[in-house]
Amino acid sequence: MSTTRAIEISVGIFVAAGIAALLILAVNVSNVSTFHSGSQYTVKANFDNISGLKERSAVTIAGVTVGRVKLIEVDPVTFEAVVHMNIEGKYNEIPVDSSAGIYTAGLLGEKYVGIEPGGAPDFLKENSEIRLTQSSIVLEKLISQFLFNQSNSDDKKEK
């Protein structure tokens, strides 16, 4: 009888330790709480270029993550990128004239959407659109522009 009991106790410890390890993985290693956190609403924004923004990228206000990019598609008429973003329900007082921009975390880091709040009395709702947008900076374009300007100014000096 006592050996059966010892076996049962050790199996109980085994199962408890396994479930505890799963919990550690869920809570401590991945951050489960930031994922499904109650109500959220969707807004969209059109960008000329999103280069490198991905689904599930962060949406931030003042550097704090308030939501995630849900879907990115191309508008078939204007050929602009339409970015659908899920924003947490508790941030429901973002003015409608806020602007959205695509920025990079650090020099080589991930792209994210930054929202600069405006001053209008109305707030963004489900399916409303952020009209003021600033596209992501494409490094190649910037460099080519710089080189172009550089050679132009060299030409002027020579003349």
Binding site: V15, I19, A21, L25, N28, V29, S30, N31
Partner: protein
């Protein structure tokens, strides 16, 4: 000429017959799970021999694998000034791949071979026939509790392996090599996704639990009941389990990453 075709035909018929017998036995065993409901003691006894007694080797290996990942990851990342991402490297490689695969390989060697030898010797000493004589179904009584115990134990072992590995990586990365402790955890939490990474790791571990335990149980049940047959079946158990786990891992990863 025709001998040659006959040979191909015979071996393919043999292959499919063997495969069919194995599938029928598998389905019978799964149906046999129902007969375990009134007797949970059988499963507990098997979980003790399969799970609890594998725990030590899993914990120790998980710890060392995590520490090695910490060392190797740090040495590569530090060249790019990205050593803060060490936590991500350690956690993702453990949760997605190394945890399920290494645990399954260790499990096949530690528990699978023991399961197979036990059932094989039961067959060699005609205990299985004895059970049938007493109108006890050996599939329900012997195979079903072992398979179920393996399927339950494997995800628990994998979770322990990964969790201990993450702490091993922390010990080396943060305490030995000086990565910032906050960055280790926060980057890990930002990059490791619950649904994409943790749940997929658990799905993998269930699949490996089914496959490795089933191979062991089947090889034991179908082995030639002589000492040579048992020894060959033990070798086959470990080899087949290892190959199937690695192949299945590639398939599952390809499906999950699509």
């Amino acid at each position: 000429m025709f001998d040659w075709f006959a040979k191909i035909g015979r071996s393919s018929i043999d292959f499919f017959a063997r495969f069919g017998r194995e599938m029928i036995l598998f389905i019978q065993t799964v149906i046999g799970f129902a007969s375990l409901i009134p007797r949970p003691g059988l499963i507990i006894a098997q979980m003790y021999s399969v799970g609890v007694r594998s725990m030590l080797i899993i914990l120790v290996s998980g710890f060392f694998v995590g520490m090695v990942l910490g060392l190797q990851g740090y040495n590569t990342l530090v060249d790019f000034g990205a050593e803060e991402s060490l936590g991500v490297v350690v956690a993702l490689s453990l949760v997605r791949e190394l945890g399920p695969v290494v645990t399954a390989l260790l499990y096949a060697g530690r528990a699978g071979s023991a399961l197979m030898a036990e059932i094989g010797l039961m067959k060699a000493t005609e205990q299985l026939s004895g059970l049938e004589m007493m109108a006890v179904n050996p599939v329900n009584r012997i195979l079903a509790p072992r398979l179920l115990a393996g399927i339950i134990s494997m995800p628990l072992l994998v979770a322990m392996f990964s969790a201990v590995g993450v702490f091993g990586g922390y010990l080396v990365g943060v305490d030995m090599l000086g990565v910032d402790s906050g960055a280790y955890w926060s980057q890990m939490q930002a990059k490791v996704d619950y649904n994409d990474d943790i749940v997929n790791g658990v799905i993998k571990s269930f699949a490996f639990g089914i496959v490795t335990t089933w191979i062991a149980v089947y090889e034991g049940y179908s082995c030639i009941p002589t000492s040579e047959g048992v020894s060959r079946a033990t070798t086959r158990t470990v080899v087949y389990s290892a190959l199937t786990v690695l192949g299945l891992d590639f398939l599952l990863t390809a499906l999950m990453l699509d």
